[in-house]
């Protein structure tokens, strides 16, 4: 049976279990004098039965599907290996593929070795058997769970506690996913970074002020001028993010305030989603727009003012990025501002405050944690954004605070280093991982500070 069919059957079974559970609970309750005599609501008994029915079976299925393939492969290949055809990992892989493709009927059986053909047949047999076993196991587990779940239904059984315990576990697992993701990210950059720091001293990387990977440190280029000082990249990131926030925060926040406090309902329902479109326009499009429309415009403007503006100024990339992240601030802030209870506004208005005073002094402070959350999210997006900067900001690693100059960012370098034409263990490519790691650490510090600050200024309303 297909895994998806099996899954649907289990879900179906658990839905059936739900109604069974509910029916049983109701039946139990009737002679006792109504559901109030049960410890929990019938729906909890039902949910308990459904969860018992579905959860173990689905977990089993997940694990099975992850491990099925490797186990079958090793079983199948053990014969082939015994046949003495395999000398290296490469041979193994190849033979395995051959077996797979023959088994799938993509390759013709003609001219293949008999061991391989046998293995292919084996594979098919194993697969069929494994699926059968899985089907049987999962279904019986599911039915067993169902029966157990139903049998546990007693008037004094604490079904609610049991269901909520499971739910809490699931909720916590979801929250922990963030930790695992972080761990995964760290693991996927740390080793390469260590590798990188073997060839480039960590101090040079962190404190060096010159970034020029063009003459990379290759074996045949000892002592040439390739330099990996990350400072200009971080200042560049900072500069562009600052420009972006300079555009996005006032526009986003003021839009949110206007929408939540001044605009009519109609305007609000129209404008808010319209602004949200800005978040979904592909970054490539923004990149073109920044590079081809905004940058020349700013340059010409600057020239007519007698300023020396680079044609790939940080200003152009930053301001376009700012436009992109407007909705992160406007929508989020709008939601939290709307959620501030009306009595807070009433209190202020009744003292003779104008609307804007009420907003600035009462509503916004009360909504501050949410607003800061939105701003931080937008800032994060600005720091992590890649495509716009790749197209519009260029790659000149200048150490400058002048937004009219061209700068580059960490993400640009990561992308070009990772996707460019490199030998893969060159310092250049590895530098991408080191940059990723360092960016991670830097933003982590920023976030810790931000958390502290938010905690300090939090105003909890009633």
């Amino acid at each position: 049976m297909q895994a998806s069919t099996l899954f649907i059957i289990i879900i179906g079974l658990s839905i059936f279990g739900y109604f069974m559970g509910q029916g049983r609970a109701l039946a139990l309750a009737k002679p006792l004098g109504g559901i109030r005599k049960l410890h929990s609501l019938p729906s909890y008994y039902a949910a308990q039965a459904a969860l018992f029915c579905a959860l173990p079976a689905i977990v089993l299925m997940g694990l099975w599907l992850i491990f099925e393939q490797p186990i079958i492969d090793s079983l199948v290949m053990s014969r082939v290996e015994a046949g003495g055809l395999i000398e290296s990992k490469a041979d193994y892989n190849l033979a395995l593929n051959r077996v797979h493709n023959i088994a799938a009927g993509v390759l013709s059986r003609e001219g293949q070795q008999s061991v391989v053909l046998a293995a292919a047949d084996n594979l098919n047999a194993f697969r069929t058997n494994a699926r059968l076993a899985l089907t049987l196991l999962a279904l019986s587990l599911s039915v067993a769970g169902l029966v157990l779940g139903l049998r546990r239904i007693r008037p004094d059984f604490r079904a609610r506690a049991s269901v909520e315990w499971i739910m809490s576990g699931l909720l916590m697992a979801c929250a922990l996913l963030a930790i695992f993701t972080t761990l995964g990210i760290l693991l996927s950059v740390v080793f390469e970074s260590i590798h990188f720091f073997r060839s480039v001293p960590i101090s040079e990387f962190i404190f060096g002020t010159s970034w020029s990977p063009q003459t990379a440190i290759r074996a045949d280029q000892v002592g040439s001028s390739g330099s990996f000082g990350a400072v200009p990249l971080f200042t560049g990131t900072l500069l562009i993010s600052a420009v972006a926030m300079f555009v996005a925060v006032p526009v986003g926040l003021m839009s949110a305030i206007y929408l939540a406090e001044y605009a009519s309902r109609r305007t609000r329902t129209l404008v808010k989603p319209t602004l949200e479109i800005l978040a979904g326009i592909p970054t490539v499009v923004y990149g073109f727009f920044a590079a081809l429309t905004v940058a020349p415009f700013i340059r010409n403007l600057g020239e007519s003012l007698g300023l020396d503006v680079s044609s790939e100024s940080a200003l152009a990339a930053g301001s376009v990025m700012g436009v992109m992240i407007i909705p992160f601030i406007s929508s989020l802030a709008d939601d939290v501002i709307t959620a501030v209870p009306q009595s807070m506004r009433d209190g202020s208005l009744a003292l003779g405050a104008t609307k804007s005073e009420t907003i600035r002094k009462v509503v916004v402070p009360a909504a501050l944690p949410g607003i800061v959350g939105g701003v931080l999210l937008a800032l994060s997006r600005a720091i992590g954004e890649t495509m716009i900067v790749v197209m519009a900001a260029g790659m000149a690693a200048n150490l400058t605070a002048n937004p009219l100059d061209t700068v580059t960012t960490v993400t640009v370098q990561i992308v070009t280093l990772l996707t460019g034409d490199q030998e893969f263990d060159s310092a250049k490519t590895l530098a991408a991982f080191a940059l990723g790691l360092m960016l991670f650490v830097v933003t982590l510090c920023l976030n810790i500070v931000a958390l502290r600050v938010v905690k300090k200024y939090r105003e909890q309303y009633e």
Partner: protein, 270 residues
């Protein structure tokens, strides 16, 4: 509550009007969407007068009070008809400056709603936005004075910079009173200001009302008839959104003109 019918086209009995009115209301109707909460109320509130408003729960006292400083504007779907004037000027005139109006007509809400700020900031808020204090010292003085008048100073003087939301119910109520009087409004509307207060604190507030009434106009909604009797000059009785009777407080409590008023008063003591 006695199930007495209100005559379809009712007439308010008693002394609705005042010779020297600060606020004059004529044929006021208030609607929440379709539902009419106030029916055709006409009444004056005199200068330096304390007007008590009584009536069964849900009869429209808060609604009426809120329409006196246009706080009803903030309720979606709420509509006010008729004429409400202060010193002869119509409040619902589009030209009227509602900010100034609210600064002049202060309000204490039925449910205490302190800002999620420190106690000090709560009281200083009005003074700050109106620029009533020239210096920090002035401001400190205003805060202390107001808290003192509301009888809260002693309890909170050591925790002025802790959040106002961490106060007890009665303390929050007094905080809101302090906040309202800190901007020295000319008219003060109080919606059950003593509902959560103990007798001593109540006495303090009643004293405050007396004190304020020497210069200012006060409208107070209360459920305590003793309180009404103690502080007010005239008493208005509302019933199902209609103004049934307005008379000097003495008279209302001793020999009410309208049978509904009498029912309400005696229902209490019966």
């Amino acid at each position: 509550m006695p199930d007495m019918k209100v005559n379809e086209k009712h007439v308010t009995v008693g002394k609705q009007f005042h010779d020297d009115p600060r606020m004059t209301m004529r044929n006021v109707n208030v609607f929440y969407g379709e539902k009419q909460a106030i029916h055709d109320v006409s009444i004056d509130i005199g200068k330096n007068e304390v007007m008590a408003m009584i009536g069964p729960s849900g009869c429209g006292k808060s609604t009426f009070l809120r329409s006196l400083n246009r706080m009803n504007d903030t309720v979606e779907g709420c509509r006010v008809e008729g004429e409400i004037c202060m010193d002869g000027e119509s409040l619902y005139n589009t030209k009227l400056d509602v900010v100034e109006l609210r600064a002049r007509v202060g309000m204490v809400f039925q449910k205490p709603n302190p800002f999620p700020k420190s106690i000090y900031e709560n009281v200083a808020y009005g003074a700050k936005i109106h620029g009533l204090a020239d210096s920090r010292i002035d401001l400190d003085e205003i805060v202390e004075n107001s808290l003192n008048k509301a009888g809260l100073w002693k309890e909170v003087k050591d925790r002025l910079h802790q959040p106002g939301t961490g106060l007890s119910g009665g303390q929050q109520q007094r905080l809101c009173i302090a906040r309202a009087i800190a901007v020295t409004p000319e008219v003060i509307l109080m919606d059950e200001p003593c509902s959560a207060l103990d007798p001593i604190a109540t006495a303090r507030i009643e004293e405050l009302i007396k004190e304020l009434s020497e210069n200012f106009t006060i409208a107070i909604v209360t459920h305590s008839m003793q309180q009404a009797a103690r502080v007010s000059d005239r008493t208005a009785y509302f019933h199902l959104g209609q103004l049934i009777e307005v008379n000097p407080t003495e008279q209302v409590f001793t020999m009410p003109e309208h049978e509904l008023t009498e029912g309400y008063i005696t229902g209490r003591f019966g």
